[in-house]
């Protein structure tokens, strides 16, 4: 069956460290993968897109990698800040209409 898995346990790190979040998938051939941030009581907000033929994308302190052999994407936040505390969702899109299929999200807590 098709699955997208993100670590359901919260990730606790200290300010200034790099946070690494994982998204694994099975039985999908994604055209691309997106990462979203969601704050409590708010809707998800788009952060980054990475396509199937790209290995890595960067945006300011954010970096995403995509390994279609391992069927995994890693999301990194360098020099993390308490304001980065939120839930981060990965989402796959298949070809065609590109409906998104979301993971359950990983909560990140950055302590001062």
């Amino acid at each position: 069956s098709q699955k997208i898995e993100q670590n359901s346990e919260a990730l606790n790190i200290q300010e200034g460290k790099t946070a690494t979040l994982t998204c694994n998938y099975t039985n999908y051939s994604p055209a691309y993968l997106q990462w979203y941030r969601q704050d409590p009581g708010r809707g998800p907000v788009f952060l980054l897109l990475i396509r199937e033929n790209e290995k890595e994308k960067r945006k300011e302190r954010l970096k995403v990698t995509f390994d279609t052999t391992l069927k995994q994407s890693l999301f990194h936040i360098t020099a993390s800040q308490p304001a980065d505390s939120a839930t981060y969702l990965c989402a796959l899109a298949t070809t065609g209409f590109q409906k998104l299929v979301f993971g359950t999200g990983t909560r990140l807590l950055v302590s001062p």
Partner: protein, 114 residues
Amino acid sequence: DVKVTQSSRYLVKRTGEKVFLECVQDMDHENMFWYRQDPGLGLRLIYFSYDVKMKEKGDIPEGYSVSREKKERFSLILESASTNQTSMYLCASRPSDREGQPQHFGDGTRLSIL
């Protein structure tokens, strides 16, 4: 900035009622989506719409219907509300001009069915 507005942040209804959730976007996006979000299950797609008057079932359409009479508005209808439809409902929109466009979400409606 794209704005997706959901009509209510919190809503309490009774079992058996017909419930309408409204969503309006201001960016002339062709595609619109309704999701529900539950702890441990993530976002699940209920219905989506390619364009005006077009609708497609998502992964969990049972007990729901939708309406898209105008491009900016996408309504979710619970035909006869049941307690298992208590959830956070999120609406999103997206342009259709090229692949990979992000979805823009509203802030959700937390619906409780008593």
